[in-house]
């Protein structure tokens, strides 16, 4: 049995999902030979510490850690001070400066801790530096949950499709936009109406601009370009058009000719724009689903689809990253 001490930084929707999933999967992980112990959870109000593992039931009902915190430590300070093997970073994303996640990741990697994250901002802002920091300290940086949520994409390309040359990836990487476009097509309702509906259902944020202006999708394009295509690009290298200009009439005209209009991110073209997608194409998925077509030399085109967001779904991608770190280490140990 291998003991792994885990710290969680960020206790929002995804943070709650992570606590829940680690708790639910305890037995299964033990059967794999992994004893994952969640020894700390931190948010902007403080930290809960428990050397023998945090009682999930006790904190899951709390929206923030304010009433249950056992320490005042926050952010970077907590990451550096707590003796963990792995840090899960799930604080709110900021695509401009990457903070606070960037600081957390730097602190974790430079003190020799693996990092698993769903936070796009730090990777968009300084992927190369974080990657080098991980290499220099002999630890891993895993971020499957940043693109396409639970839909396997990064690990699919890096592991399963290894040996293939990847020509490109195109897909739907934002469930909010896809939901809005789907509803506009189905009901012939204008954009603003579909947006309010999405907001009511909690699919869109009160300030939806990050999703509907294509910023989120562009961030994912940057991560894919840097991580899978070694392109070393910045956010500003992506040509971005959101969905706010798409009308129900445009969707109807397209549909009549067999096309759906989807917000498509394209690597290595580095574009995000509303695009006509044949309705019978496997990437033309509806609702909040995400999808991606991976163009390869040996395997042809591979298409994946799945839920792009959600608390448990994102935590699932984080869990598989954690397991893969220790599986890889096992393989390394054999050789």
């Amino acid at each position: 049995m291998r003991d792994v001490k885990v710290s969680l930084v960020g206790y929002g929707v995804v943070g709650h999902g992570v606590v829940d999933v680690l708790n639910r999967k305890k037995k299964m992980l033990r059967e794999m030979g992994l004893n994952l112990k969640l020894i700390s959870v931190s948010d902007h109000t403080g930290t809960v510490l428990a050397d023998e593992g945090i009682n999930a039931e006790k904190i899951l009902s709390e929206r923030t850690l304010q009433n249950v915190a056992t320490s005042d430590m926050k952010g970077k300070e907590a990451v550096s001070a707590i003796d963990s093997d792995l840090v899960i970073e799930v604080t709110p994303t900021n695509i401009v400066h990457g903070q606070p996640g960037l600081g957390h990741m730097e602190a974790a990697l430079s003190s020799g801790k693996h990092v698993v994250t769903s936070n796009k901002g730090p990777l968009v802002v300084s992927y190369d530096r974080l990657k080098k920091l991980a290499e220099d300290n002999g630890v891993m940086l895993k971020f499957e949950a940043t693109v396409g949520g639970t839909m396997p994409l990064i690990s699919l390309v890096e592991r399963t499709l290894c040996g293939n040359t990847i020509y490109g990836i195109r897909g739907i990487f934002n469930g909010t936009c896809n939901y809005i476009l789907t509803r506009m097509t189905e009901e012939g309702i204008p954009y603003t109406h579909a947006l309010s509906e999405a907001q009511d259902l909690g699919i869109a944020e009160a300030d939806p601009s990050y999703d509907v202006e294509g910023v989120d999708t562009a961030g994912k394009v940057v991560i894919l370009a840097n991580a899978l295509f070694d392109m070393n690009i910045k956010y500003s290298d992506v040509d971005v058009t959101g969905i706010t200009g798409v009308t129900p009439e445009a969707l109807a005209l397209a549909r009549k000719r067999g096309y759906a209009i989807k917000l498509i991110g394209d690597v290595p073209a580095l574009t995000v724009r509303p695009t006509l997608v044949p309705m019978d194409s496997p990437i033309a998925v509806a609702g909040t689903l995400n999808s991606a077509a991976i163009y390869t030399d040996l395997s042809g085109t591979i298409t994946v689809t799945g839920l792009g967001a959600g608390s448990i779904e994102t935590a699932s991608a984080i869990l598989s990253d954690i397991i893969s770190i220790y599986r890889t280490k096992q393989i390394d140990a054999i050789f």
Partner: protein
């Protein structure tokens, strides 16, 4: 390159074989042959339309060989507009001079707008248009889309292009 040819054959046995021989000799790939026996010309000849895929530089050689076999070549040339693409435009499509938008494509000579559908929900609201553009080849389609993108940038229209089927 894809070419089409209209020939006239004498109404005697073996003429079609004679007409196809020069194409075979010059490695032209025959896509279709339509033999109009029912549409005999006033000259008593039988019109035949061929579509072939071939190297354009061989066209004159083939024409001369056909003539020397006594077959008249009525017309031979590039088959135009074999590629098409669908595009949706959103914005003040009509007010920004739709006629000009279309003619900027049509005036290229290698591409033209062949279908257009317009929806205008209200006077001050953005209208949406579906355009089908056809062109003489894949490269020309890309050139036409390039022009359209430029025109729409000038006119502040949103261009929604089709996804590429293959990785570029």
């Amino acid at each position: 390159m894809r070419l089409s040819m209209d020939l006239e054959l004498q109404d005697v046995p073996g003429q079609l074989l004679l007409a196809l021989q020069p194409l075979k000799d010059n490695k032209a790939n025959i896509i279709s042959v339509v033999h109009h026996r029912d549409r005999k010309t006033p000259r008593g000849t039988i019109p035949v339309r061929l579509v072939v895929e071939m190297d354009r530089s061989k066209l004159d050689t083939i024409k001369n060989q056909l003539k020397s076999s006594g077959i008249s070549v009525v017309r031979a040339g590039e088959d135009r507009f074999i590629e098409a693409v669908s595009v949706v435009l959103v914005g003040h499509v009509l007010d920004s001079d739709l006629g000009d938008t279309v003619s900027r494509i049509d005036s290229t000579g290698f591409a033209e707008v062949m279908d257009l559908a317009l929806t205008m929900p209200g006077v001050n609201e953005p209208s949406s248009a579906y355009l089908k553009i056809r062109a003489t080849g894949k490269t020309e389609i890309q050139k036409a889309l390039g022009i359209l993108r430029q025109v729409c940038r000038e006119k502040k229209l949103l261009v929604i292009e089709p996804i590429e089927a293959e990785a570029v």
